[in-house]
């Protein structure tokens, strides 16, 4: 299975998202314990202070296990060199996409400063994954508006709308061609409904691993195990965990 939503530890910032520090080897050991073959690792420090150094750190982390880990860096869209940094991330650093967290990073998806960033990302065949599920700045309607401005860029809703906006995330995934949805922290009844109603190739899964008080990432292991109780079909499970993330990562490369 491919876990489409995990994080590095925070190395440079006092993150309230917390968690213990861990290395890439320890992270792969956690993945083995949960049956995860490949993980998308998203920036953590960069969500609080988006500097090129945080992308360098992320690239070094995933480079220890390039067959198991793929990195998504970040930028702050109001920085004048953000588009150049996206180009460097996907070029020299070998990262695969861009993570944005509009409410933590403090911007709106409607800001036009995002356009050159998305153009640079699309030109490199990258993927944009955004936090969603949290008003005021991280709702699917807002993220889909950006996706419509960049129709060749795959855009992933990183949390499937969480508890209170999942219906909006589902609806926008249905009506927006280049919008995908990652079930991650989404409650089980919503996950079941999303899998029943979203286009079959558009649903992904993530654990949000990396934020635990333990290197073993116990909550992430539990989230994988919990899928057995969702009441979904084997075909839905395979599409979400294997086929869909594999196809999305392979596209445009």
């Amino acid at each position: 299975m491919i876990d489409f939503h995990t994080h590095t530890p925070s190395w440079r910032t006092k993150s309230w998202l917390g968690g213990v520090p861990f290395g890439a080897d320890e992270f792969v050991a956690f993945m083995d314990s949960a049956g995860i073959e490949h993980a998308l690792v998203l920036s953590h420090d960069g969500l609080f202070d988006a500097t090129p150094e945080t992308n360098d750190d992320l690239a070094a982390f995933v480079a220890r296990h390039p067959d198991r880990l793929t990195g998504f860096g970040t930028v702050h869209p109001r920085k004048p060199d953000a588009a150049d940094e996206v180009d460097r991330m996907l070029g020299r650093l070998g990262l695969r996409g861009l993570k944005l967290h509009p409410w933590l990073q403090g911007f709106s998806m409607h800001e036009l400063a995002l356009d050159p960033i998305c153009e640079a990302l699309a030109a490199r065949g990258g993927i944009l994954l955004s936090h969603d599920g949290t008003p005021p700045y991280s709702t699917a309607g807002q993220i889909a508006a950006l996706a419509r401005r960049h129709p060749t860029l795959p855009v992933v809703l990183g949390h499937g709308g969480l508890h209170d906006t999942w219906r909006e995330s589902l609806a926008l995934t249905v009506e927006t061609d280049n919008l995908y949805l990652c079930i991650c922290g989404t409650p089980p009844y919503a996950a079941r409904e999303i899998l029943a109603r979203a286009p079959g190739h558009k649903v992904l899964f993530g654990t949000d691993a990396g934020l635990s008080d333990r290197k073993s990432q116990d909550y992430a292991v539990a989230r994988v195990a919990e899928i057995d109780g969702w009441g979904i079909t084997d075909a839905q499970r395979r599409a979400m965990l294997v086929d869909n993330p594999r196809a999305l990562l392979a596209a445009d490369r």
Partner: protein, 243 residues
């Protein structure tokens, strides 16, 4: 004894749960008792039907199911009458969902219902989360207005207002956190080790039928706690709140 602090019976937009199925799950998981509220439609609209449903289910359960009462506060005096009727039918607590019922926690609409809860000695369950009308901090302010009434912060602000759960619990000593959805190795650890909160201010719930109940129970059982503290979370605290 394991007591589930919150389950909804009946049907909602995407879910459905019968008393028969709930009892089966409780037997399978070793859950002794559960507080049951009516499902979404009856919480929002047909309160009488919902209160009668959970009252009947409780009466037939041999003491395993404990009914919440519900009433939409927009019904004014009729809502107060409905709660008193539910109390006479065996209700032991009040369940509130400001999103489904369409009000703001601090707009005053709910206050007459809280007076009934105070008069009956009921704990009050309030569903929280990301909607502006269901945030943990306003709930803490509301709870402070009724210091003798225990309030349960349903879902503890899951997920992006988990960060408000600890400040809300510190601000209102009569507010209790809810374990459902909350990982022990992030959220519950933080609340449990806080000297102003601790495990005795947290109550276990499955929040069925929205969850995988076995996973909700397993998470609390996996949480490294001493057995006394675990017993408090799994039922001890809630049984005291129920009197």
């Amino acid at each position: 004894m394991i007591v589930d602090a919150h389950v909804r019976l009946g049907w909602g937009r995407e879910v459905e749960l019968s008393a028969w199925r709930l009892i089966g799950t409780m037997d399978e998981l070793g859950i002794d008792k559960a507080l049951v509220a009516p499902g979404e439609r009856c919480l929002a609209y047909d309160n009488r039907e919902g209160n009668e449903l959970v009252s009947r289910a409780a009466a037939a359960s041999g003491g395993r199911l404990i009914p919440y009462a519900v009433a939409n506060p927009w019904r004014g005096p009729d809502a107060v009458d409905e709660l008193r009727r539910a109390r006479d039918g065996g209700a032991r607590a009040l369940a509130v969902d400001s999103v489904l019922q369409g009000f703001d926690l601090l707009d005053g609409l709910i206050d007459p219902l809280l007076e009934v809860a105070a008069e009956a000695g009921w704990p009050v369950y309030v569903r929280t989360g990301t909607p502006p009308s269901a945030l943990p901090m306003p709930l803490a302010s509301l709870a402070r207005r009724y210091p003798q009434t225990p309030f349960i912060m349903g879902r503890s602000g899951a997920t992006d207002f988990w960060i408000d759960a600890a400040p809300a619990l510190r601000y209102a000593p009569n507010l209790y956190g809810d374990t459902c959805y909350a990982p022990w190795d992030t959220v519950l650890n933080e609340l449990g080790r806080d000297p102003e909160i601790g495990p005795s201010r947290l109550v276990f719930s499955t929040d069925a039928p929205y969850t995988v109940p076995a996973a909700e129970l397993r998470r609390v059982q996996d949480w490294p706690l001493d057995e006394h503290a675990r017993g408090e979370v799994l039922g001890g605290t809630l049984l005291r709140l129920l009197g």
